[in-house]
């Protein structure tokens, strides 16, 4: 090895070492909070779920999997799971389907297009707490706007949030109202990416609207559909504000979802251990969805 080569080599090593140091410093501001408030707590949650701690006592017992067993043995917990499934499917499906249909409607060069897009999207940026209060007034059984409109078109006035049958639909309607425009914007971007000539070719072949939808649009936007389904599902698992304002999980537990039970167990019953185990169950469900998404995207989704 001659001198020059050695020189280059030490310089390279030095650069690498410097990069390591710089990288460490540059990552630190993001990593510290991430470790303290995300990754650390995630691991801590596993441990907590094996205890019976109550937030206050100096001591606690390791109870193993007892928290999980007691959840899995209680009928109320299965009700919560069913509610969560009902809420998730009920809020994700209409948002995805409605979002796609609205995007198709708005994907034409017609005056007014941008105004409609803006108005339909606007619910997404408003605070759920405030708008849930407004919706609970609109759904007021005796004096609300919705029941008034129902009586105008000869539909029966419904008890809405005060009935265990109709409370969940109210919460779902409020959630869909908020995410519909958001889903639509994703589809608008996806539709813009579809080359015009595909439709032109179909037009010449005399393909009708539904066939175009079925054989061109839906397959070509499938990556967006998959992305939205997963993100909206994760969002549905963390829905809280509208439930807390409109129903508080009631009546008689009809709108108590996993996250709401988590909140009540932790901050009303002060059972940190049991709450942590509900958190882990939410984590498992979300992970299953993430894995399904990964698997589906490899197998079925059409990428252009």
């Amino acid at each position: 090895m001659n001198k020059k080569e050695v020189n280059i080599k030490t310089k390279f090593v030095e650069k690498l070492r410097n990069d390591n140091m710089v990288a460490f410093i540059f990552c630190l501001p993001a990593l510290i909070p991430l470790i303290v408030f995300w990754i650390g707590p995630m691991i801590f949650a596993f441990y907590l779920s094996l205890t019976d701690w109550d937030f206050m006592s100096a001591s606690y017992n390791i109870v193993g999997l007892r928290n999980y067993f007691s959840l899995l043995q209680s009928p109320a917990f299965y009700r919560t799971l069913r509610n969560t499934l009902y809420f998730t499917v009920g809020s994700v499906l209409p948002a995805v389907i409605g979002g796609l249909l609205l995007a198709i409607m708005l994907n034409r060069k017609i005056p007014g297009r941008n105004v409609h897009r803006t108005l339909i999207f606007s619910p997404w940026i408003t605070p759920m707490v405030a708008m849930a209060i407004v919706w609970s007034w609109m759904f007021n059984p005796s004096r609300g706007l919705v029941n008034y409109l129902f009586t105008l078109i000869n539909l029966p006035a419904l008890p809405w949030a005060s009935s265990s049958t109709w409370a969940m639909p109210v919460v779902i309607i409020v959630s869909v109202w908020r995410t519909l425009g958001w889903a639509m914007v994703f589809y608008l971007v996806a539709l813009e990416d579809i080359p015009e000539d595909i439709y032109d070719a179909a037009e010449i072949d005399g393909v009708n609207f539904w066939s175009k939808l079925r054989y061109i649009t839906i397959p070509l936007v499938s990556p967006t559909t998959l992305f939205l389904s997963v993100v909206l599902t994760v969002q549905a698992l963390r829905a809280f504000d509208q439930i807390d304002i409109i129903t508080q999980g009631g009546p008689a537990g009809a709108t108590r979802t996993l996250l709401y039970e988590y909140y009540q167990t932790a901050f009303q019953q002060f059972n940190a251990g049991k709450a942590a185990s509900i958190g882990i169950i939410i984590l498992l469900i979300a992970s299953v969805f993430a894995i399904i998404q990964f698997w589906l995207s490899k197998k079925y989704v059409h990428y252009q």
């Binding site: 690498l16 390591n20 990288a23 540059f26 501001p29 993001a30 909070p33 991430l34 408030f37 995300w38 707590p41 801590f44 949650a45 907590l48 609205l102 409607m105 708005l106 017609i110 007014g112 409609h116 803006t118 108005l119 999207f121 606007s122 940026i125 605070p127 759920m128 405030a130 708008m131 209060i133 407004v134 007034w137 609109m138 004096r143 706007l145 008034y148 109202w177 958001w182 914007v185 994703f186 608008l188 971007v189 990556p223 967006t224 992305f227 994760v234 963390r238 807390d244 304002i245 988590y262 909140y263 932790a266 940190a272 709450a275 942590a276 958190g279 939410i282 984590l283 992970s287 059409h302």
Partner: protein, 286 residues
């Protein structure tokens, strides 16, 4: 094509256009009905708001409802708390995101790929799992019920890192090399080259995260106790409960909701292209 043929197509197109306008107007109207109803209800008297069938407009607009609402709870304090914490969080997001995205796109170090994978994994995971442990950590730090508790527990945005990484990768290499030759350090390259070139993405996530933090409810509800620390969402919920104690005072509650929602609607209508573009950009493309 024969002229009559063109005529039918033209007519068909025109009719479908009118139908389109009617349908879209209806959809948009439904979407903004809650805003309109909130605002109109805020201007009614107790008696008017309880009338059934409801009247669309109040006899005389009760603007005093807003004054009465403003006077009956410290909304100025709540709004200040929300604006202050949300802005601080966004500033921290900009700093932590820029530095982290620079490291994982421009620097050569061993943990580069696993680090990015780790960050992306946390994006998919439900934040709920971390609430109870994070609460305990904040309690140990003595940061419950404090500004620093709200701010630092929210100081990283995975969504922002994801967006910033995408656009940092598109910065032309020649510009970076040229700066290096001139002897510029990493810090300088980040803030004088990358940041100005990718500013749109920072504006986008800054706005979106500001809105998310202003609207944040569950986490602050867990860690905030004292009234002077209330964020606007918690203050509004408290007001809702208090006004409901002796027969619900809906006009004042609607006025309070209007006070809470209006700043965001204004922000949105001024900066809407940033919001809509930002949301669309986060979609996964083939």
């Amino acid at each position: 094509m024969s002229p009559s043929n063109i005529k039918t197509i033209f007519r068909k197109y025109k009719i479908s256009r009118i139908l389109w306008q009617i349908f879209m107007a209806l959809v948009s109207l439904i979407m903004v009905t809650p805003f309109l109803w909130m605002f109109l209800s805020a201007l009614k008297t107790q008696k008017e708001i309880k009338a059934f069938p409801p009247k669309l407009f109040p006899e005389i607009a009760q603007w005093s409802n807003f004054l009465e609402t403003w006077a009956s709870a410290p909304f100025d304090r709540y709004i200040f708390n929300s604006f202050f914490t949300a802005s601080s969080i966004v500033i921290l997001h900009i700093i932590t995101t820029a530095m982290f995205a620079y490291a994982i796109t421009q620097l050569n170090f061993k943990l580069r790929k696993p680090l990015f994978a780790l960050i992306m994994a946390t994006y998919m995971l439900p934040v709920a799992v971390t609430y109870v442990p994070s609460y305990i950590i904040l309690a140990r730090l003595g940061w419950l019920d404090s500004y620093q508790g709200i701010i630092f527990s929210n100081s990283v945005s995975v969504f922002a890192i994801f967006l910033a990484r995408q656009s940092f990768l598109q910065v032309p290499e020649e510009m970076v090399d040229a700066a290096r030759v001139d002897g510029a350090g990493h810090w300088h390259i980040l803030w004088k080259i990358f940041f100005p070139l990718t500013k749109p993405i920072f504006i986008t996530f800054g706005l979106i995260n500001f809105v998310l933090m202003y609207n944040n409810y569950l986490w602050p509800l867990m860690i905030i106790r004292s009234r002077e620390m209330y964020l606007i969402t918690i203050g509004l919920r408290q007001f809702f409960i208090e006004q409901g104690a002796y027969g619900v005072n809906w006009p004042l509650i609607m006025a309070a909701s209007t006070i809470v929602v209006t700043p965001l609607l204004l922000l949105f209508f001024i900066a809407q292209k940033w919001f809509i573009r930002g949301v669309g950009d986060t979609g996964i493309k083939g």
